[in-house]
């Protein structure tokens, strides 16, 4: 009985510690060598996450504080692949606009109004 009580207390303690710790959002399977640009920002109550893995640029969005994610349409990134292909990238939220600084050859800034 004493043994089970100790195990139970340890389980509770473990769950409390876990609840206070960081949890992975399960978004990416990156490695430092593959990832060039990463950025995260809060915009209009949504979480936006950008990363570049190899040659693929991905912009994710979550409307439930990171519980679930969806990929934002990437057509605009393909059209601006020159800018996005060379260096890091940065997301910034100002007013109603979401900005993406693309550290490429021409220093473009892309922004969304919706």
């Amino acid at each position: 009985m004493k043994k089970y009580l100790i195990i139970g207390l340890l389980a509770i303690a473990t769950s409390v510690v876990y609840a206070q710790g960081w949890q992975p959002c399960g978004l990416t399977d990156n490695s430092f060598l593959k990832t060039i640009g990463t950025s995260v920002v809060v915009h209009n109550g949504k979480i936006f996450e950008f990363h570049r893995n190899g040659v693929v640029n991905t912009l994710n969005v979550s409307t439930d504080n990171g519980a679930t994610w969806s990929v934002v349409n990437s057509d605009w990134m393909t059209a601006n692949s020159n800018s996005l292909g060379y260096n890091s990238a940065t997301l910034a939220s100002v007013g109603k606009r979401l900005y993406l600084f693309a550290g490429g050859v021409c220093g473009e800034v892309l922004f969304s109004t919706d």
Partner: protein
Amino acid sequence: MTYLPTCVTNPQAKAALFYPNMWTTWGNDHLIAIFESAQASLIYNISSGKWEYIPGISGNMPRGYCSRNDTLWASSEGKSHTGAMWSIDGINWNFTTGTGLDQWEYPNLIKWHNNRLFMYTNHYQKGDRLRYSDDYGETFHEIDLTPYFSDKSSINKVKDIFSCNGNLYISLATFFPPAGSPNLLVSTDNGETFVADTLGFPVGDDGKFLEVNYGALVYNNGWLFAQLKNGDLYRKYIGQASSVSNQSELLSIEVFPNPVDSKLNIKVKETVNIKIVNVLGIVVDTQKLNVGNNWIDISTLTKGIYFIQSSNGGTSTGSVTAMKFIKE
């Protein structure tokens, strides 16, 4: 979702800019970005839709920006001035004294948190430091971070200073981090003490923590997010804002005009006693303010910098509100 491309060039050098090293927002209609590759700071005005060059201000190239209410703050690199500077229009700047900073100590990151101004500085001989000021950048004190490292000889870099939910977060990097060194510190007492906050973070292939880079900490609805150097995103629930919130929510007084000549308006949300203190810490006036606008006659004060201090009755640092104004 519609994305519109726009090309950013340096208005002065007529050259393209690249990835910004640091950035911050200012109000709801300005974005500030530092481009070290072009040694330029740009301010973007959404209303006008234009980027404008922020001049180096007599060689004091800012290496960090932050905003506090309507005021834009910047660190000053130190060619003609070392310390902090602030502006209400992004064009005209006021310099703080910066007492306490050493010669050749270059201010870098700058951040307001609970009425305390934090600044990360670099010194080519004495190393990097985290400092704070309780008098709007006039004097700076050092925060010793070495107790939080298992190897005190390692050279530590502060990647970011982040304020949210009443807590102060410091993300760190070390050139050769020993195993067990934290990459994230959190303070719940306005920077007086810190604890490591890396529980649950993965460990890199070398057995060391992965860095949390500049701008990689964000907060939303009780959740704190951290993006690690390898791109992985983590989240942690820290709850909604408590009684000690960020400075804009904590501040309960507004002061205008500033600078001021004779009549100063102080707007408060609750009845409060205030003290007007000069830069030497001497109380030059006391007033009891009622809710709303209160016009104070300051025509008899000599020209200079003053601070309005008010307390909501508590004794902790976070309960004291202070605002700075200039008597012309």
